[in-house]
Subunit: 180 residues, 2 copies
Amino acid sequence: MSKLSSAGEKFILHWGEMGTRWGVNRSVAQVHALLYVSPNPLHAEEIADTLSVARSNVSTSLRELQGWGLVRVVHLLGDRRDHFESMHDVWEMFHVILDERKRREIDPTLQMLRSCVTEIQQGEKPDKHMQERMTWMLEFFEGMTSLYAEARRLPPHTLRAWVRGKGKVRRWIDSLLGSD
Amino acid sequence: MSKLSSAGEKFILHWGEMGTRWGVNRSVAQVHALLYVSPNPLHAEEIADTLSVARSNVSTSLRELQGWGLVRVVHLLGDRRDHFESMHDVWEMFHVILDERKRREIDPTLQMLRSCVTEIQQGEKPDKHMQERMTWMLEFFEGMTSLYAEARRLPPHTLRAWVRGKGKVRRWIDSLLGSD
DNA sequence: CTGTTAGTTCAGTTTATACAGAAATAACTG
DNA sequence: CAGTTATTTCTGTATAAACTGAACTAACAG
């Protein structure tokens, strides 16, 4: 795959753009997109050629993607070059990304909020307004975190099955919970 | 509120940093954080002074925040300056942000994926691999979108009540859905 | 060994974005 | 209507991040 189809190019460019909107480097997102649609693992030079970026850029992008756990190295017999392939299960990909962003961003935020609340409480003249607001925020993040932890514990294919066909059951549960 | 407490400062700086990680301008996030913890609406100059940024910067940041629907103008009797206050319900804030990011980013992505899949199908020699991968991605986004739409329909306080106290019920539902 | 290929690291450059300050506009006051 | 205050818009500058190309390291092949 040295030349991209029109759809492939469209997808990769859009994915790169999406990346920037969510705080991910454009090249990193593009490499990820390319590996996602590629039928077979690619080596660095193929990637660089296809995306028209420097090899060094590809190297660091691949490093980043491996750090996220989205891409892994594959070796082919008779070829000493590293080849790379993306995780292909989109739902699993989603989980990996959420886990990682939680670890990198949500957990530190929880820490920060807890230390702010403690600090306010221990001050001489505690600012009740601010304490209240920060507590709300803290409770929100704690709630979402535990909700996610619960969802995370579901058997792997439950969520996708649920989303696909369980509208009825879900609505029934909603009504149950709503009447409380 | 012209001088910030230590906790307030810590919160605002962290929030600004979080913003950048999620593709939101640092100043915008800081202004939002400040208004969130502020006990009363603030006018532009107060904000600029407190955060040590230019008024013009505050002006555009406030515009942005109003565009998101997170901040609104308030007028006080005997004061012709605009004052601004943030939405204070964190759960509602979350919904507003998700709705807006869906509209700005997810919906265009769905469009892009649909047009890619169509384009591949209509090509002379359809690339089956790529079609499959893009279809998976499309189904994922469609699934998440409809799941979110359902959650969105829940009565306003259901989710927070659920998160707070419904661990038991939730686990029971999980087991129900898991055994299917 | 020596030449070649793969991969990484680093220094310098480019690019995009954020930001400040000035200028322009608008709204109000006496 | 003149003077003042609030707000927005615009232009140029500063900053941070991304990216390239070259230098370097490592691994291998003959």
